[in-house]
Every structure is written in structure tokens, then in C-alpha cells.
């Protein structure tokens, strides 16, 4: 694990780590897994990391870095050829059977022409709570109402899902995860095709869910928003390049390794930036999404959080 220590900017207060009794403590534990495709090519090699409760963790890597393979492994579609994955201390399939993991799919993976209404999709989150006939009880309807209320989509509940905007679509699937009531939520690229306002609304919601004690694992290539809301980062390219608290892990050096020259890199310093001999400099890293901006003296740069919602 190569992570250069920087000044810690994000206060990580000791959140209530004691979940209510009877609730399994959310955690994801990946122990030295290798996942191969049927043609023998290993998409993930010797990857290990560990995440606990009350965490938002970003999974950052280029396209084709094996991020989605890792997610598919966590969802039990692929089985590691070596190593193992534990979710809340249980094998993946057991954890899934108990409904411990919710999944928010990437927009491209959803068939938006499917004849289902917004409320139908959110109700799907309750299937694990129903008997095998999947007849919704009053408690299920209530959970759906609450989830829709919380993401602000109650007015759209009778719309067919294809009639929504990009941000609204995302919120519907977040509502489904809420209604499901899972302690662990995997989100696949939640910010693609979403406007700035919805992005900050989603981030607020994720924070609130973290404060409830949940664990959220977010696959993203939106670098700028990572320091904004993630306490942990896993930098990934076929294997775990670095992982740990955002402040110490999400560094220029680690990102350069993870992205291998695929990032736009702008640096301002010296006489371009200052009239005096100030050593501090501005670094902008972007893959054409929201950029990551660092400012400070060499190797002492801190993340700069732009005003959220004020981008327009």
C-alpha cells in the first residue's frame, strides 16, 4: 500500500459504531481474491481490502480496470478462483439471501422501456421481505411511501420509469435501496448523466445513510466529488493499488498510478500563480468529469472542495 501521508483535512468524528442490537454489523472483507473469466484471463488479481460500518468508500479506477468484475463478485455473479469474500462476516450468497446488500445499477444497465412504474420499482426492494407470492403487506407499502418521500419522488410514483430525467431515475433506484433496508449498498457510477443539483442531493442522502450506520461502496470515476463525500477510497486497477482514508490515499501519486496517464493534468504554480516566492501551487486532475483540485506546497497539497451546487 503506497499512500503518502498528507495533512488530514477531513475530520472523521467517531460516529455511533454500535448498531442497534439484532442488526448485523455491515462490513465487506475481500481476502486476496483472484477472479478469472472463462477464457482464463484474470480480471482481478490478489485484491484485498476491508470496509466497516458508517463508511462511504469510493472505488476508483479507469474503465476496464476490473471495477465491474469486483462488483459482480460482490453480488455473487462471479466466484473468485482463489481467496474469498465475506459480507458482514458471511459468505456472499448467504449475505445476499438475507438481504444484507442492496444494489443501485448503472443507468446504462437498466431497460428504461420496461413497463414498470416508479412505485413498482421501489416495491421491488421489498421482495426479500415478502412471502414467495410477493404480495405486498401494509408495512411494505409504508416502506415504499417513506423511501419515495425521502428522495423527493412521491409526485412521480405513477410515472413509467422511462419518462424521468437522469437525476430522477437515479433517485428511484436509491429509493429502492432505501426501501430494501439493507445495511450495505453498492452503487455503480451513481453520478453519470446526473445534473449538479441532483449530484449534491444524492451526496446528502448518502451522508445521511452513512450516519445511520450503513456501509456504502461507490464505483465512480468522478474524481472531484470523491474527497467531498467519501471517507475511504479503494484505488483499483486489476488489483488494489492503495486503500485507506481519503485524505491519505487519494493523492496525486496514487491517482497517477491508478490512471496511468489517462488523466488530464494541469498545474499552476510559481510566477503563474503568485507575485512573490510562494511555493504553493494548484493541481487539477480530471478525466473530463468534475476535476480534482489540489492546492498547497509541494507534497503538502490539500483537497479543495468547490462549493457544492454552485457550479452553475
Amino acid at each position: 500500500m503506497k499512500s503518502r501521508v498528507l495533512e488530514i483535512h477531513s475530520e472523521t468524528p467517531a460516529r455511533s459504531l454500535s448498531a442497534p442490537s439484532g442488526r448485523l454489523m455491515p462490513s465487506i472483507q475481500v481476502n486476496n481474491i483472484t477472479v478469472s473469466y472463462t477464457n482464463g484471463v484474470a480480471a482481478v488479481r490478489n485484491a484485498s481490502f476491508k470496509l466497516g460500518a458508517s463508511t462511504i468508500c469510493a472505488l476508483v479506477g479507469v474503465n476496464g480496470s476490473g471495477k465491474s468484475t469486483l462488483f459482480k463478485t460482490l453480488m455473487g455473479f462471479l466466484t473468485p478462483s482463489s481467496g474469498d469474500v465475506r459480507i458482514a462476516g458471511l459468505p456472499v450468497n448467504t449475505a445476499l439471501k438475507r438481504g444484507l446488500v442492496a444494489y443501485v445499477p448503472q443507468s446504462e444497465d437498466v431497460d428504461w422501456n420496461f413497463p414498470v412504474l416508479v412505485e413498482d420499482v421501489v416495491m421491488m426492494g421489498r421482495y426479500g421481505h415478502m412471502s414467495f407470492l410477493r404480495m405486498p403487506a401494509k408495512s411494505d407499502r409504508q416502506a415504499v411511501d417513506e423511501a419515495l418521500e425521502r428522495v423527493g419522488m412521491s409526485d412521480y410514483r405513477k410515472r413509467q420509469i422511462g419518462e424521468l430525467s437522469g437525476g430522477q431515475k437515479k433517485r428511484v433506484f436509491l429509493a429502492r435501496a432505501l426501501a430494501q433496508g439493507s445495511e450495505i449498498i453498492l452503487l455503480d457510477e451513481p453520478f453519470t448523466g446526473v445534473d449538479v443539483k441532483t449530484e449534491s442531493a444524492i451526496i446528502d442522502l448518502l451522508r445521511a445513510m452513512r450516519d445511520d450506520g450503513r456501509l456504502m461502496f461507490v464505483s465512480t470515476h468522478n474524481l472531484g466529488s470523491v474527497p467531498d463525500f467519501c471517507d475511504q477510497v479503494v484505488l483499483f486497477n486489476k488489483t488494489v493499488l492503495a486503500y485507506g482514508p481519503t485524505a491519505t490515499t487519494f493523492t496525486e501519486a496514487n491517482l497517477a498510478e491508478a490512471f496511468g496517464g489517462l488523466l488530464r493534468h494541469v498545474r499552476l504554480g510559481g510566477s503563474d500563480l503568485h507575485d512573490d516566492a510562494d511555493q504553493r501551487r494548484v493541481t487539477v486532475l480530471t478525466d473530463d468529469e468534475r476535476p480534482l483540485v489540489l492546492y498547497g506546497e509541494r507534497d503538502q497539497e490539500k483537497h479543495i472542495k468547490p462549493d457544492r451546487g454552485g457550479a452553475s
Binding site: M75, G76, F77, L96, K97, R98, G99, V101, A102, Y103, P105, D109, V110, D111, N113, F114, P115, V116, L117, D120, M124, G125, Y127, G128, F132, L133, R134, Q160, R176, Q180, S182
Partner: protein, 312 residues
């Protein structure tokens, strides 16, 4: 009055024959089950697979008749061999799926026709390829009813699970379902119902039975449950009507059923309240008149502003 009662007599004549009432009821039942399955098939883009199955069962049916076995058994076996053959060839070559499906099912169909033509006495080519519900034997009626009843019962219990697995397989896993197993279940049901439909419309037209009712219902609603209900009503009534009218037109049951289904589809295509062509045109007109009204208003404001300026 004499003429009127003569017409009534004529219209009721088919019901005087036991073979006709049998044909009408069996057709309606098969039409309803096939329509149920069609809702899933059209949403997944697997229509070609349905066609392939229908053609692939022909050699099995021919062999079963030759050996005096229940025809459903033979059909089922050859359908499954064809499905396995498709996935086998697909894995071993670089060919695209549609090419492999086309290759395998035509081969099976050809073998079937060959077997039938070598042993013309045991099976009638026409009854397999074009169906012959009016001459269905009592044993075949029993087979069809058993297949349809079991399929309907399973679909009735599992339709929501199947919908979830087809709509979002990651989420299906997260509520503890096994999407792969559900998909296998679906294909088993599809091949079973294809076999049942051979008797009514024949191998060539089965594809219409498992596509058209679902496609029609899709235009009429935004809810999957409603879509299934509508598709079943369409499938059952068109099938019963086709069988009934074939009494007067001497035999072309399959053709009549499919023609009726197409007519219903065309009606939905034009008149469907939300997704029909007329509705689309109405919406476009409403939108353009709204824009017109908007710009008129704007102009009015501008004009009054100008007037104010001049008066000032």
C-alpha cells in the same frame, strides 16, 4: 325472422360438434399461456429464440410418433438438445448469436421434415408444420391441457420473480433470487408451451403466438401485471375466434389465429391511448400549440412593454 334464425343456426353450428368445442377451448388455453410467456420474451429481445425452439421440436415430434411415445416427450427432448447445441456452437466459434440460432434451428427443422417425409404414413407433415387443431386426438388434448395447466400454475406463482430477474438481475440476487435458475425455468416453460402450440398453429406460426399478444399489450399499458392480463385476454380470444371461424373456412386455424392477432396489434398500434400513433400525433399537436400560445403571450408582453415605453 326466418332469415334471422337461419343465421343464428349457422353461427351456432360449430358448437354442435364436439371436435369444434374441444378445438375452441384448447386453442384458447394454449393462446393464453403463450401470451403470458410472450410478455417476457418481447422485453428481453429473445423472439428469435422462441422461433428457434418451435422449429427445433419438429424432429422430436416426428420420432415420438414413429416410436409411439407421447409427442410432448420427444418435442421436449429435441428442444433441449437444440438449446444446448446453440450454446455449444456459440462457445466454440466466433459467430454471432443470431447466426448460430439460425444455423441450428434450420438444421433441426430440416431433419424433422426429412424424418416425416421418409415415413409419410405415421405422421402428417402438415399437422406438425401448420397445426391441425380440428383433428386433435383425445390423448393429445390431455397432453396439451396438462402442459398448459402446469405452466400457468408455475407462472402464476413465479411471475413476479421472473419479472425481477428479467428487469434487473443484480437486484434479483440482492433479494436472494437466483436469476440463472429463473431463466432456465423460463426456457423450460417456453419449450413446453411451444410444444402445446404446435397442435393449434403449427411450428411455423408458433412465433406469432409467443410474440404478438405481448407486443400488443405492451402498447396498451405501463404496468407489467396489466400487460400480462391484456396479453392473455388477446391470446385466448383470438385463438378461440380463429378456431371457431376455421369451421366455416375449412381448416386454416393457425393462419386465422395469427391474422386476428395481427389485426388486434394494428388496432393497438393506431389507437392505443398513450403509445399509439394517434396519441403521438395528438401529443405533438398539443405541444406545438402550447409553444404557439407561449410565443403569442411573449409577443403580447413585448408589445405592451413597447406601448408603455411610447406612452412614457
Amino acid at each position: 325472422m326466418m332469415l334471422f334464425s337461419a343465421v343464428i343456426d349457422l353461427l351456432l353450428e360449430p358448437f354442435a360438434y364436439q371436435y369444434m368445442t374441444k378445438a375452441i377451448w384448447v386453442s384458447a388455453l394454449v393462446g393464453a399461456v403463450c401470451a403470458f410467456l410472450s410478455c417476457y420474451l418481447i422485453l428481453k429481445g429473445w423472439a428469435l429464440m422462441g422461433d428457434a425452439l418451435a422449429h427445433s421440436v419438429v424432429p422430436g415430434v416426428a420420432l415420438a410418433y414413429l416410436m409411439g411415445l407421447p409427442y410432448a416427450l420427444g418435442a421436449f427432448t429435441s428442444g433441449i438438445i437444440a438449446a444446448l447445441g446453440i450454446s455449444f456452437v456459440r462457445r466454440l466459434t466466433m459467430l454471432r448469436e443470431d447466426a448460430v440460432i439460425g444455423l441450428v434451428f434450420t438444421t433441426f427443422f430440416a431433419i424433422g421434415l426429412l424424418i416425416v417425409s421418409i415415413n409419410p404414413t405415421s405422421v402428417n407433415v402438415q399437422s406438425i408444420v401448420l397445426g391441425n387443431i380440428l383433428a386433435i386426438s383425445d390423448e393429445d388434448v390431455v397432453q396439451v391441457i396438462i402442459i398448459a395447466a402446469i405452466s400457468l400454475a408455475i407462472l402464476g406463482l413465479k411471475w413476479k420473480d421472473l419479472m425481477l430477474a428479467f428487469f434487473d438481475d443484480s437486484h434479483a440476487r440482492s433479494v436472494g433470487l437466483n436469476p440463472w435458475r429463473l431463466r432456465v425455468l423460463f426456457f423450460v416453460l417456453l419449450s413446453a408451451c411451444t410444444v402445446a402450440a404446435l397442435q393449434t398453429v403449427g411450428a411455423v406460426l408458433v412465433i406469432a403466438m409467443v410474440v404478438t399478444p405481448g407486443a400488443t399489450a405492451y402498447l396498451l399499458t405501463d404496468r407489467f401485471g396489466v400487460m400480462i392480463g391484456l396479453a392473455m385476454i388477446i391470446g385466448a380470444t383470438t385463438s378461440a375466434l380463429g378456431a371457431y371461424l376455421s369451421f366455416f373456412m375449412d381448416g386454416a386455424t393457425g393462419g386465422l389465429i395469427v391474422v386476428f392477432q395481427t389485426l388486434v396489434f394494428l388496432a393497438a398500434f393506431v389507437f392505443a391511448p398513450k403509445h399509439g400513433r394517434l396519441a403521438a400525433r395528438r401529443a405533438a399537436r398539443a405541444f406545438s400549440s402550447e409553444v404557439d400560445a407561449g410565443s403569442r403571450e411573449e409577443n403580447a408582453v413585448k408589445r405592451s412593454g413597447l406601448e408603455e415605453e411610447t406612452t412614457a
